[in-house]
C-alpha cells in the first residue's frame, strides 16, 4: 500500500517520459532505426519491425498510464521496457558494440551517448522507480498539491536523466581523447 500521491507522481513521470521518447522515435524514425542497427543485435531486415514495436509499446504505456484502472499495467509495461532496453544494451556491449550511439537523446543530434554499463544502471534505477506505481494506493482523493508535486517531480527526474546522458557523453568523449 502506497500513498496515492506517490503513485500519481510516478505515473505522471512515466506518461511524460514515454510520450517524449515515443515522439522522438516517431518523428526521427530513420535515426532511431540507425541507432538500433548500431546495437548489432539483430539482422538488418528485422530492425524496422523492432523499431516500430518499441515506439508502439511506448505509446501504449502513455495511453495505459492515462486510463483509470490500467495504471499498474502501465507501470509494469514501463518497467519491462526499461529492463528490456537494459538487456538489449547488455547484449550489444557483450557483442563488442559498446560505444555505439544509444539512441536515447530525444533528438539531440549534437550529443551522442554511447552504450555502456552506466546506461544499464540508469535503466535499472528507472525501472525501480516505475515499479513503485504497481503497488495498490490508499483510498483518498487527489488534491491540487498532488498535481504540482507530480508535474515538478517528473520535470526534475527527466532533467536529471538528460543531465546523466550528457555526463556519460562527456566521459566517453574524454576517454576517446585520452586513448
Amino acid at each position: 500500500m502506497i500513498d496515492l500521491g506517490i503513485q500519481f507522481a510516478v505515473l505522471t513521470f512515466l506518461a511524460i517520459f514515454f510520450a517524449g521518447s515515443a515522439l522522438h522515435k516517431l518523428t526521427h524514425f530513420s535515426s532511431f532505426r540507425l541507432a538500433i542497427t548500431g546495437y548489432g543485435i539483430m539482422p538488418a531486415a528485422l530492425v524496422p519491425t523492432a523499431a516500430a514495436i518499441a515506439a508502439s509499446a511506448e505509446v501504449l504505456v502513455v495511453v495505459l498510464a492515462l486510463l483509470p484502472g490500467y495504471q499498474p499495467v502501465a507501470a509494469l509495461l514501463g518497467a519491462s521496457l526499461f529492463l528490456g532496453y537494459a538487456c538489449l544494451m547488455m547484449v550489444a556491449i557483450l557483442r563488442g558494440n559498446a560505444g555505439a550511439d544509444c539512441g536515447c537523446n530525444w533528438g539531440n543530434s549534437r550529443q551522442s551517448t554511447p552504450l555502456g554499463r552506466p546506461l544499464i544502471y540508469r535503466n535499472l534505477v528507472l525501472a525501480l522507480i516505475t515499479l513503485i506505481a504497481v503497488a495498490t494506493p490508499d483510498i483518498r482523493s487527489l488534491v491540487w498539491l498532488d498535481w504540482v508535486t507530480a508535474l515538478l517531480a517528473s520535470a526534475a527526474i527527466i532533467l536529471l536523466y538528460q543531465a546523466f546522458n550528457a555526463l556519460i557523453a562527456t566521459l566517453a568523449f574524454q576517454q576517446e581523447h585520452s586513448s
Binding site: 530513420s30 542497427t37 549534437r110 551522442s112 526534475a156 532533467l159 536529471l160 543531465a163 576517446e176 581523447h177
Partner: protein, 200 residues
C-alpha cells in the same frame, strides 16, 4: 500552518527543478569545454603512409552512382580530402556540419570524399538521415585498407600532385583544420610542427 507547509512544499520542488536544470546546463557546458580543449592537431598514427608518400591510386564506385578516382597525379590542380567515417561512430556525426561548410568554402581547391565500409543499406539510410547527398560517398573496404585506417574518424589530405599532404585521427573541427594548416606549413602534423618549434 498548513498554508506555510504547502508554500514550503511548492517552493522546494521549484528549487529542485531549477537545480536539475542547472545540472543539465552545466553538464552540456562541460561537454562543450571538453570539445574545445581537446589537443589541437590531428594525431597521425598511420603505419602504412606518411607525409610525402604517393597516395594509393584507385577508382571507387560512388554510392550515388558513378566513379571517383582517388589519388593519382591527374588532379586538375585540386586536392582531395578523404574522410573515413561510420554511421555508428558518434564523433563522426558531430564533424559532419564542419565538413559540409568546409566543402563549400574550399570547393575551389578541394574535393571532399566521405569513405566507409560495411553494408550499403545502412549507409544509404545514414546519407538520407544526415542530408549527405551532396557529398561523394564511397563504400569500400579496400580504400580503408589501402590508406591504413585503423580508427575512426580518420582523414587523409592528398595534395594536387597525388602525394599525402597530411593525415590523422580527427576528433574535432580543429583537428580537421589542422590538416590544412599542416599542408600549408609543409609539416606532417601539427604535433611535428610544435615539436620542431620546441627543439629550435
Amino acid at each position: 500552518m498548513t498554508t506555510a507547509l504547502i508554500i514550503s512544499q511548492i517552493l522546494s520542488w521549484v528549487i529542485i527543478v531549477a537545480l536539475a536544470l542547472m545540472v543539465l546546463a552545466l553538464m552540456r557546458q562541460v561537454g562543450v569545454l571538453h570539445e574545445r580543449i581537446a589537443p589541437a592537431g590531428a594525431l597521425s598514427m598511420n603505419q602504412n603512409l606518411k607525409k610525402g608518400d604517393t597516395a594509393p591510386t584507385l577508382a571507387a564506385n560512388l554510392l550515388g552512382g558513378g566513379k571517383v578516382s582517388i589519388g593519382g597525379a591527374e588532379r586538375n590542380g585540386k586536392s582531395q580530402l578523404l574522410f573515413f567515417l561510420s554511421p555508428d561512430c558518434p564523433v563522426c556525426k558531430t564533424l559532419l556540419p564542419a565538413l559540409g561548410s568546409m566543402k563549400k568554402a574550399e570547393a575551389k581547391w578541394l574535393d571532399v570524399i566521405l569513405a566507409s565500409d560495411g553494408a550499403e543499406p545502412s549507409h544509404r539510410a545514414f546519407i538520407k538521415e544526415r542530408g549527405l547527398e551532396h557529398f561523394d560517398y564511397v563504400v569500400s573496404e579496400l580504400l580503408g585498407r589501402s590508406f591504413g585506417v585503423s580508427k575512426l574518424p580518420y582523414a587523409v589530405l592528398i595534395d594536387e600532385n597525388g602525394k599525402i599532404a597530411s593525415l590523422g585521427l580527427i576528433n574535432s573541427r580543429e583537428h580537421l583544420e589542422s590538416l590544412f594548416e599542416a599542408k600549408e606549413r609543409d609539416v606532417a602534423s601539427i604535433q611535428d610542427y610544435m615539436q620542431s618549434r620546441t627543439a629550435s
